[in-house]
């Protein structure tokens, strides 16, 4: 739970009727986690300014949908999280991302470490309700350290926000908009990417869209992060 010397900064709020405490100004998704309640995220990176791109952390406040990664908690806020409606929204978003990309888990280097795959298991996705789009996307292998596989990109913006070179310049950025949107690599900075930053980029990607070149598997499928413990369980086991 929360440790702080200044109790004035502790506020009380409710998630699905359960009384929780948090530090004033904490984002809801983090405050919930501190109280043992898991709210799924794909685009969120703790410590970085949130973007609210994937919408999977949608919760209801006063009957209106909002994203838990972008909204700070305040005293007395009442949040709906574990309802049938929200479950359905989250499952729909997972299905949507599967249907609109080309995600073949068995052949993916990230299998077992992939948040999208892990959430699909959590929400018990069988077949997406949406028709598969089978989009034709490219694999950009022109950079010395990494491969950018657009088939698997869920456009969450994590790499764009987290990976900057030593001068703070963007290595990744969006290109175009709407259905033509993609995340591209800066040709110049991509060619100068350090091993360290390349590894960080692969790690920060919640799916398998950024893959290190000339690198095998350290951990076999079956023994990876979400193979060991289902996504969300580490938070939900907090209070047990």
């Amino acid at each position: 739970m929360i440790n702080t010397d200044n109790m004035d900064d502790i506020i009380k709020f409710k998630i699905d009727g359960k009384i929780c405490t948090a530090r004033r100004g904490q984002y809801i998704v983090e405050a919930a986690a501190d109280n043992g309640i898991f709210i799924p995220t794909l685009c969120n990176i703790p410590g970085l300014k949130p973007k609210g791109a994937c919408r999977i952390c949608t919760i209801m406040v006063d009957g209106r949908p909002t994203t838990a990664c972008t909204k700070p908690v305040f005293d007395g806020i009442e949040i709906e999280n574990d309802t049938e409606e929200i479950h359905n929204i989250r499952k729909s978003i997972v299905e949507l991302l599967f249907a609109q990309g080309n995600h073949f888990c068995p052949s993916c280097e990230k299998s077992g470490n992939c948040m999208l795959q892990a959430l699909a298991y959590r929400y018990q996705m069988m077949v997406p309700r949406f028709p598969y789009a089978f989009p034709v996307k490219e694999v950009d292998a022109s950079h010395p350290k990494i491969i950018k596989d657009q088939n698997r990109c869920i456009l969450c913006k994590r790499c764009i926000r987290a990976i900057k070179d030593e001068n703070g310049k963007s290595v990744f950025a969006f290109k175009k908009r709407g259905k033509d949107l993609s995340v591209v690599v800066d040709p110049e900075l991509g060619s100068k990417l350090t091993d360290e930053l390349a590894a960080k980029a692969m790690e920060i990607c919640p799916v398998g869209s950024i893959i290190l070149k000339e690198k095998g598997f350290d951990v076999p499928i079956g023994k990876r992060t979400y193979d060991n413990i289902p996504i969300g369980s580490e938070i939900e086991n907090l209070n047990k």
Partner: protein, 600 residues
Amino acid sequence: MDAKVQEIIEKYNKDKSRLMDILIDIQSEIGYISKESVIQIAEQIDISRVDVEQTMSFYHFFTHTSPGKYSIFLNNSVVADMMGREGVRDTFEKEAGCKFGEVTEDGLIGLFDTACIGMNDQEPAAIINNIVFTKLTPFRVREIIRDIKAGKSVSDLFMESYYGGGMNSSDKLRAMVTNNIRKVGPILSRNYVSGTVIKEKLPQMSAEDVINEVKDSGIRGRGGAGFPTGLKWEFCRKAKGDKHYILCNADEGEPGTFKDRVILTEFPELLFEGIAVAAYAIGATEGLLYLRYEYKYMEDYLEDVLHKARANNLLGKNIGGITGFDFDIRIQFGAGAYVCGEESALIESAEGKRGEPRDRPPFPVEKGYLDQPTVINNVETLITTVKILNFGSEWYKSFGTKDSTGTKVLSISGDCKFPGIYEVEWGFSIRDMLDMVGASEVQAVQVGGPSGSLISPKDFDRVLCYSDLSTGGSMIIISDYRDILKDIVLNFMEFFIDESCGSCSTCREIPVIMTEKLKNIINGKGITKDIDDLLEWGELLKVSRCGLGHTAGNPILSSIKNFRHIYDEKVIRDLDYISEFDLKKATKESCDYVGRIPNI
């Protein structure tokens, strides 16, 4: 290194928050933004190339290669279609010798589709090298292409007799656009000498007095969202910041709205006064008019009005003789993106970035342009506040209804005798509106543009006001003989697909999937379950970040709600599943090759 590009970059002090201006100037002065220019900009303003590209590729009017010496952007809105766009389009292709989306081999002519350009009352219309050509016919197109091939300049493509009325015919504007002001109320009436409020009222009023008068009038944002204007000003004034900003939203991109075009043409002095009044109220020293690129033809004219306002002490230092009231306005152009009409996307764009809406909180009144407290008001809202301060809030409240005070300027187009702008009091019924504009045999009215709702005759006694039919003023009238799904709904859905910023998973993907289903239904391949799917999937859009996302399914959702029978008639009932797989088509190539007749 290109000297011209360098000059433009330096004109904006290598400031990355002015990237939009840099790109706009390069595009309009050189004709396109080459990959080399992108590298030069990136190096000079010290950001990576992909960051320049991500802004550039967001906007419709930026191109890496020349869009033709004469670039023709033909509006593809619903009303353009109604008024004969197809014939115009075909003639352009035939006469120019290239398809839409292409440039002729000699680089002379480029043909492109573009979303509503704010000329719905005089369609079909196109923008050729930033100049608007209205009421196009196949004959006019043949003339235009003939003259282009003969080497005439764009301004010589039309004769003086083509100038529209009012200020459109003035020296600085010289546009063939017509105003079509058909009903004048207290706001559009010429009952006011510009500058009066600044010179005679403000000296006796504190900022709080101004805010209270506006609050008391009950006016709400006229862009469509309807937030109380006085309250917005008050929040902003009270918010702490190094500087406060007022931004005027003149990015009217909702298909079917064109009222701001007319206000900007006929009442720019009133608008700039309104921006200054808002600045006085919130304590701003700098204001921006965020103007859609489609209205680039007004640039010289509006700059001239600003110049005169400075000369008359209505902008600049100690405005109206009020010590310390220093304020000025600059024009910030957009570059073709509907979503930039959303206020936080507008701010992002004005800062030189992609027009992606921001998450709220924080709201712009706390943290807006350059992270400072910012008010964003619609054009119509701002001119109205000047009249409110001049005549008083009681006068203003004598118009409209109790909870929707004042008037609304409507942009009415589609199947009617007299398209144009009409200022009506809130509380006006749709039936009266249809009689007013000369519309008969009306099947439906699109209230509030594609993001609004499609209503049927059973709703024609409903009235325009915030508690019933709330609207930013776009009214598209649809006659009996139109095919609602094919002519209207499909066009609107394609518009939303083109204009989504793509940031939210829902708004990026759901409209695409819904539109595929809609096409199946239109082509007679839909089943009853498809209608239920559309309703269910459309619901998901409500979790999107901004208004565009929330409403991107409305064309389908509201047409199912009010015209369910059309869908029911088109779908195949009593069928649980329809295979989209066509065996004959799939095996055609191999059958042709081996000369076999498929045994199906």
